[in-house]
Amino acid sequence: MISPLTLGILFTVMSMLLVVVVALRTELANAPGGRALIFVAFFAFPVIASWGGASEHLERSKQTAFCLSCHVMRDFGRSLYVDDKSYIPAAHFQNHRIPPQEACYTCHTDYTMYGGLRSKMRGLRHIYVEYFGSVPEPKNIKLYQAYDNNVCLHCHLGARSFEEHERHRKTSEMMGGIKSNKISCMTSNCHDIVHDVDTLKDASFWKGGS
């Protein structure tokens, strides 16, 4: 079966050829239906091809490979393969609790389209820093703001393993605090081993899944 990407590429190639043919043979405009052909070649097809291409690139930007294609992200990618289930991203990635092909995107967006315009601008800034700025050491890379529990709760809320876990109910206010984002999942001595890229040199790695 032909994939959407192949179809998109074929459509773009066809649009390109049509534009070239029509541009070289402008006398086609005088033929019956010639104006309609030029309109399709110079307006409809290029707009559809560009729209489809932008959509394909947006989908690609969700891929784990996209995020890890920048050198500075390499250690964060390696941390997904740590053979230690106390590493939260590794446990989620290796056990397919998140889609492995979209691992970064799944946990680092706030379940709006890329977390809004601010996230997109940050993405552009990251690219600028990668090529023109001074790239920090991976261990010095921190989130802009505390990790939002809602990203975890998007999947775990209502799950028996989360709702009934004794650690989540150590005190009467604890569950409410977690759900209202007052007690962080990551910084409460519970799930605080995340990427921890500065510890990777001593870690052992899972060899499967790649």
């Binding site: 998109g8 070289l24 294609s69 552009l124």
Partner: protein, 68 residues
């Protein structure tokens, strides 16, 4: 604007659109942020410029014909 003028503009528009689509096509080779940026910052503006030039040529041509 006479027939040669609209032909010239149409050719230029075709060149811009063709070039833009070629750039867009090439960006599909890589899964990389730079490919995305090239698509948005080079490919799309070239296509948009070509489409606008074509529409402008068409509008001016129609206006001249309407005046006659």
């Amino acid at each position: 604007m006479g027939a040669p003028e609209i032909k010239r503009r149409t050719r230029r528009a075709g060149l811009l659109i063709g070039l833009g689509l070629l750039v867009q096509l090439l960006t599909f080779i890589w899964v990389h942020p730079l490919a995305f940026i090239t698509f948005l910052a080079v490919g799309c503006p070239l296509v948009a410029a070509g489409v606008l030039l074509y529409l402008y040529a068409l509008a001016v041509h129609e206006q001249r014909h309407g005046d006659r």
